[in-house]
């Protein structure tokens, strides 16, 4: 049977949109070239972060945060979400100035979820933080979830409402004939009236097939996780001007990120790690948290992630084709947005409008203006 909507890509955006479409009674099929949550949506750091968002994203991120706090109930699943607050640490006075400037900007826009904390409060919240850290900024609602479980929670909820997922199904070509999108895949032809591109690190290829050129790049942000350690950090931790990010899970393991990138081999579904950069990340972690000197790294990995030049995603209708939409290019911070993006895309695809200003996310925003 022909579905009304085809979604290309079984990451969190595709799964969330499939769920929201199915909830509206729309028939939807998700085509995933590997398996659901295989890439960035399954292997990211799991940060559910509102703190430090680009101002264009703040309204979406705030709304999504409300969803996260009820998501387990809504999806009847365990996403592993924990609200733990997120603190970005200021290592010096220059960092504090950055924070004050940001706060002024945020207040002017009517956003009050980021609070600057002084050295004493930083120490109360993170007793193991190094002496030299002078303060920071906190967002109370932030936390983390388990990425693979979260993405699959959307998928299973969507399936219960009638959505179909086809895994191991790689799109080879697609074209619009009359009112239909014909999609040729490694598992034969699929057909639907409407099409959504959620193909993550491969989304530029799909975008071109739809007819929209987009200056997307891809990379391989790296992570490492330690064996279980005694509990020492409740909040998720970042740093204002250093590539540091970590969180301690309930089982005691500590996930260390920070944005250092390895080498992406997109054509072979593989990544290679840059160990000298991981070594620098290790030094950073031990410098901010001396207790980490004894930590043992258990695993290191990287995921394939899509980036746009302004580090903002593409969200909205295709420009050069009817009945096609895009949701990709989240530039390593799309996980938290998953719940709200699915809702927005489902609304757009079924002919509605979004209550958010999506103009900063247009796919043609990089087109050169005519002089």
């Amino acid at each position: 049977m022909k579905p009304e909507v085809l979604i290309i890509g079984g990451g969190i955006q595709g799964c969330s949109t499939a769920y929201h479409l199915a909830k509206k009674g729309v028939s939807v099929t998700v085509l995933e070239k590997d398996w659901v949550s295989r890439h960035a949506s399954g292997v990211n750091a799991g940060g559910v972060r509102l703190l430090g968002r680009h101002v264009a994203e703040v309204p979406l991120s705030k709304e999504s945060m409300l969803r996260w706090h009820q998501l387990d109930d809504e999806l009847d699943a365990d996403t592993g979400f924990r609200s733990r607050s997120l603190i970005n640490i200021a290592a010096d006075e220059a960092d504090m100035k950055t924070l004050r400037d940001r706060q002024q900007q945020m207040h002017a826009l009517g956003h009050f979820h980021e609070q600057i904390i002084d050295q004493q409060e930083l120490r109360e919240r993170l007793p193991q933080v190094a002496e030299h850290c002078v303060g920071g900024v906190v967002s109370e609602q932030d936390g983390y979830a388990i990425p693979y479980q979260s993405t699959n929670a959307f998928r299973h909820a969507a399936v219960r409402l009638g959505a179909r997922f086809v895994e191991g199904c790689q799109v080879q070509s697609l074209r619009q004939v009359g009112t239909s999108w014909l999609v040729e895949t490694s598992q034969g032809r699929f057909e639907a009236g409407r099409l959504l591109n959620c193909a993550g690190a491969w989304a530029d290829k799909i975008s071109v097939m739809i007819g929209d050129n987009v200056p997307m790049s891809y990379s391989a942000p790296m992570l490492m996780i330690t064996t279980r350690m005694p509990h020492f950090a409740t909040p998720v931790v970042g740093a204002v001007s250093r590539p540091l990010s970590f969180k301690q899970f309930e089982n005691g393991t500590v996930l260390i990120g920070g944005g250092a990138k390895g080498f992406a081999d997109r054509d072979n579904n593989r990544t290679r790690l840059d160990y000298a950069k991981l070594a620098a990340g290790a030094r950073n972690a031990t410098e901010f948290f001396p207790i980490m000197k004894t930590a043992s790294v258990n695993r290191m990995w990287a995921g394939l992630e899509a980036y746009l030049p302004d580090n903002l995603p593409v969200l909205g209708a295709a420009i050069n084709a009817d009945n096609a939409w895009h949701a990709f290019g989240f530039s390593a911070h799309g996980f938290q947005l998953g719940p709200v993006v699915g809702e927005i895309m489902a609304e757009l695809i079924t002919g509605g409008d979004s209550c958010f200003d999506l103009s900063p996310f247009r796919v043609d925003r990089f087109e050169r203006k005519v002089l």
């Binding site: 070594a279 695993r299 990995w301």
Partner: protein, 480 residues
Amino acid sequence: MNSYDIAIIGAGPAGMSAAITASQAGARVVVLDDKPRAGGQIYRNVSVSPLTQPEQLGPDYLRGAELVEAFERCSAEKRYGATVWHVGDNGEVLFSQQEQTHSLTARELMVGCGAMERPFPIPGWHLPGVMSAGSAQVMLKSDALVQDNAVFAGSGPLLYLIVAQYLRLGVKVKALVDTTPKSNYLAAMGQGLGLLSQPAMLVKGLGLLNEIRQAGVPVHRFAQNLEVIGDERVSGLRWLNDKGSEQINCEHLFLHQGVIPNLNMTRSLNLKHHWCEQQLCWKPSLDSWGQSSIASISVAGDSSGIVGADGAERMGRLVALNQLARLGRISLDERDQRARGDQEQLASLNRFRRFIDRLYQPIEQHRIPEKAETVVCRCEERNLGQLRTEFERGARGPNELKMMSRCGMGPCQGRQCGHTVSELLASWRGERVDEVGYYRLRSPMRLLNLTELGRFSRVEPATTNTNASADPVSIQEPSQ
């Protein structure tokens, strides 16, 4: 930056013989091993045994001393206490040594990481007091530690050897519970010709069992459905045989059902692997020179499939000859000529191996657990029932299962559960193990201290004289 010609991971019989052959031909060779000295598991501490009468470990153990000595004399650079935790398909090797991370590159790599014991996932195998027989032997060889009055259970030549080694040292063994089924003896006879190809090894094997019986150790044969008894720790072992259910009390239980290749390095290198029905294990897919699906990476010894110490030594030489030819240091003709003797001996050893493999093939119920409460992943304490639930929720492959259940995510990186999970999923899906696959592995292959990772330096061979065994140049990277 200067590169080595050949980096050899593991100073066991394969690595030592490869290093001797390659360095004699003038190649710049570095050998890395995480132990304080050469020998590998089989010849562990052969040069400095803590035992007063190491000859009681048997003539084979002492034969290793000769090989170790030749290796120590050769010009290859030896790095002991060097834990390799990453090997890249670009020839990059990262290792920890003296609380530092070092990086080197080599044109050719040889992986010789040996074998590990096959997991024995029966009810209660995770309880304190239950260990693998191999770890009993490690304690014996490294620290001269033994457990009195222990029960040994399982099957395979190594099990009998360890029991015999215990007895020779005057340690009391409470019982041997042998799980080799009657049907295996019949099936192995079908490989009779293989048996005759290595008569000396056959005599050796029978001799061990005789030795155990003559020492008065009760031997319970044809045991099936092993179950460890105990709540907090082991209190006994229960099994079934023709007569019904039997059990024995014990405070220490050593389990063993053969060895399998240590896969973590070849898997994290993403080499092509296949499931071997003869040995019921994953093996890297290699050509007759041990060359893997990545031409510059070769595998020898038990890492390539169980070949034993003698086979490993010969394979190591073959790998070295092929790599010397690839490096242009010898001609293909010379390689082929010098390889002939080892190739013939290996073929003969392989015929005998088929017989041994068939005779001691571990039974299905001890490889593929049946009871929901049987622990599969010891690190994350995941049992069969939990895995089955996730399988039914759609986790069809090892990686989906791992991400859903955390099975295989712990510090052992799936060493203990990888084979069990592959076979379990194959039986649940009704497909071949090859179709199911294995965990996608990543570095580090061992736990890695964060401070050590932060101290990152590069290692190069000495440049002046290719035969020199001088100290390598070590350059400290500027800190970032």
